[in-house]
């Protein structure tokens, strides 16, 4: 299956793209997607653990399963003010 990964703030800057498609085995979870992304994109490895994840615009836990065509967005805590 394929999910749409969207990047925000520091992640978007680290990746250089606002989104990408990611192929995952059927039934993969948010945690598995995080793991795969951290492996493929070392720049994300340090940023991802602090991020909140949302699947189809709802907050997602590590064990939340993904489905084909799902949208997964990672939101880092923003520190400035």
């Amino acid at each position: 299956m394929q999910v749409r990964i969207r990047y925000f703030a520091a992640l978007r800057e680290a990746v250089g793209e606002a989104e990408e498609a990611l192929d995952l085995p059927d039934g993969a979870t948010v945690a598995q997607a995080r793991g795969l992304l951290a492996e493929r994109r070392p720049a994300l490895a340090k940023l991802l653990p602090a991020c909140a994840a949302a699947v189809n615009r709802g907050y997602a836990q590590a064990e939340t399963p993904l489905s084909d065509g799902a949208e997964l967005v990672f939101i880092p805590p923003l520190g400035g003010g």
């Binding site: 615009r57 923003l78 520190g79 003010g81």
Partner: protein, 350 residues
């Protein structure tokens, strides 16, 4: 509701706020509620300026403005309450903000507090307010604000901005998700970009300031239209979205009632300041107020020293050292805490 509103509010109250009360979501009853409300703004840099400005103009009854810093020229690009004269005289931001806000709306009671927001004083600084707004530039203060507001049952709104990105999230204690439901662990200093490293556009401050200050109005008038979840925005990519965020039963703060940031003894003596080549040193043990005049006499032979009513400024050994009566100092010219501590120990004493 005070009768004095119309007298020194620069015109009759209904004229002054007519463009706001015409909007059905506020109306005359909402305006009365705003006028009797009390709000704390913790941190008054870019976001705090935007929030304080909107709320003072909207006719909030009382604003407590807390900030530890003073105005500098590189603030003026985005910190809209301040001007060149404030930077030239190194006026503390809380004081400069109060001057400006009183000129904008004399009917609002403004209480400036030149202070750090710490586990020691958080409960006092939030005492008596209906709402707290986050104008801070660091997570140490935000996780503390989250704990303190949960403990006191005060709603607060998280606002974060960096580069062209922003977030806003309203926390109603034990009714909606809190900061730690979304981000359970506090990001450590140095692990997230700051205004120093990533820059910041003034447009995102105004945009998130508008979202947050409008949420504040809804909350204070008791609107049902309050936003739930986490709002996020990328002003450069033209994205504005909201994610749903339920409370997390295992949240350490609102789920388990562990207020570890509030209960912690002051553990950090130094803080690197956002957007500056500067470090704040905050002595963990301090006595009474520092005698700035006496300190000025001691430092005068060593470098150029100036004092005003709120602070002492000295140029020492290539550093610009600013000392406040509460014994805090901001050491400019380094972003190394160890260097700043050394400068502090050498010239102010430990």
């Amino acid at each position: 509701m005070s009768d004095s509103q119309g007298q020194h509010g620069g015109g009759h109250v209904s004229d002054r706020y007519s463009r706001q009360t015409l909007f059905a979501g506020i109306g005359p009853e909402g305006q009365r509620r705003l006028a009797s409300a009390s709000v704390a703004i913790i941190g008054c840099g870019a976001m705090g300026s935007a929030l304080a400005n909107n709320l003072a103009r909207a006719g909030i009854g009382r604003l407590r403005v807390v900030d530890r810093d003073f105005v500098e020229v590189n603030n003026l690009q985005r910190q809209t309450l301040y001007d060149e004269a404030d930077a030239a005289s190194a006026t503390p931001k809380a004081v400069a903000a109060a001057n400006r806000l009183r000129a904008v709306n004399s009917a609002v009671e403004i209480e400036p507090v030149v202070s750090d927001f710490t586990a020691d004083n958080a409960l006092d600084l939030l005492d008596g307010v209906d709402l707290a707004l986050d104008g801070t530039d660091n997570f140490e203060a935000r996780y503390l604000l989250n704990d303190a507001c949960l403990k006191m049952g005060i709603p607060w709104i998280y606002s974060g901005v960096i580069a062209a990105y922003g977030v806003s999230m309203t926390v109603q204690p034990h009714a909606t998700a809190c900061l730690r439901c979304a981000f359970p662990e506090r990001p450590l200093p140095g692990t997230t970009p700051t205004c120093d490293t990533a820059g910041i556009l003034n447009g995102i401050v105004a945009a998130i300031g508008g979202v947050t200050s409008t949420e504040a109005l809804k909350l204070l008038v008791g609107s049902e239209q309050l936003a739930r979840g986490l709002f996020w925005m990328d002003l450069w990519e033209n994205i504005a979205e909201r994610i749903e965020l339920p409370r997390q039963p295992d949240c350490p703060a609102c789920g388990l009632g562990e207020y570890e940031y509030l209960d912690a003894a002051l553990s950090e003596e130094t803080a690197t300041l956002c957007g500056r080549n500067a470090v704040q040193v905050r002595p963990l043990q301090r006595g009474g107020a520092l005698d700035l005049a006496e300190l000025g006499r001691r430092l005068a032979p060593l470098g150029e020293v100036a004092t005003n009513e709120y602070l002492l400024r000295a140029k020492l050994d290539g550093y610009e050292v600013t000392v406040f009566p509460d014994a805090r100092a901001i050491i400019k010219g380094t972003d190394e805490p160890s260097v700043a501590r050394t400068v502090y120990a050498r010239y102010i004493g430990s």
